[in-house]
Symmetry: C2
């Protein structure tokens, strides 16, 4: 199931990027994912608006959802950032999150423009046992180099990456508003709960990101190489009663908590309440976001993906 | 920290009880605790209103909260069953849960009356790592014998009990409406998520309860003996900013997930976001409901309790 999506020459030319002058860290995009909510409070107290040589903006993305400790008020904010939705005129009775997406886009973007922040990091939690995971769109070499940097420095846990293969205009989540960006997804943590272990993983990843920004802006050349990522493909729904639509099975104990394990035909994936085991019958793929709370309503029991290797060119700053 | 709260003679006289003819199983009392919600659906499909020789009522306690997958709509339903609240006249603008408590009391009670169901079991989940736990009020010998029965039959996990020392009139939770009753509390499970392992623990405890009811009604004498329980005492709040009231620490990694371990002076209990560790300075007690999601708003980081031994007389049915 391994695949090179890019097959560039082994020796890639160094690519130059403008400095990462303006960095934004967002949290509470989902109001019940607590690591980001608490992280932002601490960042505000401690950072004084700076992350090394970069200016740092800290943004509580969905304050109304945070206030009531829910994922969202009217609709999932983190699906509101496609170019289409950001361009659509707002009516008075538009969902709160759609209005908020426009505000955030004005504040941190506009998406795709020169005025957008250079790097946007959005902080998330999952109830799935995914550890520390970076989620990004397309081959954003800055984001991929940050992934590689974190992987090389972090010893306390594996650092995995999920790659969502969508063009920027269709990218629906907040980090797509920045010139570069990614989500930091850490779990397992119940919604509404703050766990020290999960918080510490997120903090370590964020501190390393700031360290990268500092070194990058100071002129350090980051060598090319390869990183591995899981390319998001098909979702798998729970078995349901065809008449009522009700879920008729739980994720099988042998799959629960086994995120990023290779799923093979014949592996148990669901246990029906009536007793039978449902086995996997597709091609060999990796599963993740297994039994994520917020995906029940999206009809997703887990996601499937292929492992891919991405080639990176060397990069450094262009201060001209 | 061990204590006998009761010191009865070693040989206790057999106590006779009327048959357990009417059993009620309730779930969704908290609308985001999913094991009970799913358990009820399956019970309805499979039981046909009978649990052996007893009639079985299945009740979705808070359908509006279940519908929106929240703990409650207006206020915590499971704090609405004191005699005082059940007697207070309802106004039109009373909170939804207060109205619902009156309905449930009419349907399953009235609390303290001859018409009340003989046994009321309420199904709950916690985000704390408490495994399978029975929660009960006062020295309800039927409930305690069921605890002893489940402990003697269940090998897959320890079965613990929490004892809430309140008179029946002040007992605030749903199970207090039955002549006998207890809550089955199973965790860790995130709100809004169904885990197979947690569901199975609850199902096993419920099946054993039905088995007990069957044997009890058939005339079996259950021998006396002792059971252990944790007597709920003081709650401990999170460290907070004295000005804003905001939480300034997470539960320490060394306490997280260690429910029912003896807490000793000097043990780390919180890790402040600023870095310092907060240690425990009270007397030796057991901690549980550690980092339970719903208790953030109740200003409870964990509960403390003493371990007690309760003496049980032999019991059997009185069919006269």
């Amino acid at each position: 199931a391994d695949l090179n999506v890019f097959s560039p020459p082994q020796q890639m030319e160094r690519v130059l990027f403008p400095p990462l002058s303006r960095v934004a860290v967002c949290g509470g995009t989902h109001g019940n994912e607590m690591s980001g909510v608490y992280m932002l409070r601490e960042l505000k107290k401690q950072s004084a608006g700076q992350a090394g040589s970069a200016s740092l903006m800290t943004v509580l993305s969905n304050p109304r959802a945070v206030e009531s400790c829910r994922r969202y008020v009217d609709k999932d904010l983190n699906r509101c950032f496609t170019s289409h939705l950001l361009r659509a005129p707002l009516t008075d009775d538009a969902p709160y999150e759609q209005k908020r997406a426009h505000e955030l886009n004005a504040h941190l973007g506009p998406k795709g423009s020169d005025e957008a922040v250079d790097l946007l990091i959005d902080l998330h939690n999952t109830t799935s046992n995914m550890g520390l995971c970076l989620i990004f769109y397309s081959s954003d070499w800055i984001a991929l180099h940050i992934l590689k940097y974190i992987q090389s420095k972090m010893t306390s846990a594996p650092v995995r990456a999920i790659f969502v293969d969508l063009p920027a205009s269709e990218a629906y989540s907040l980090e797509s508003v920045g010139k570069h960006g990614f989500a930091i997804e850490v779990g397992p943590q119940p919604n509404g709960v703050l766990r020290a272990d999960i918080y510490n993983l997120m903090k370590e990843a964020l501190d390393l990101t700031f360290e990268f920004v500092q070194e990058f802006n100071a002129g350090h050349t980051f060598e090319g190489g390869q990183v591995e990522a899981y390319m998001m493909e098909d979702p798998v729904d729970y078995p349901r009663d065809p008449t009522t639509g009700e879920i008729t099975a739980s994720v099988h104990s042998q799959l629960q908590d086994k995120d990023f394990k290779l799923l093979k035909p014949g592996d148990p994936i669901f246990k029906k309440f009536s007793g039978e085991t449902v086995t996997y019958e597709g091609e060999e793929l990796y599963s993740f976001f297994i039994n994520e709370c917020a995906y029940y309503e999206k009809k997703i029991a887990f996601l499937l993906g292929e492992k891919v290797r991405l080639d990176l060119p060397p990069i450094s700053v262009n201060n001209d």
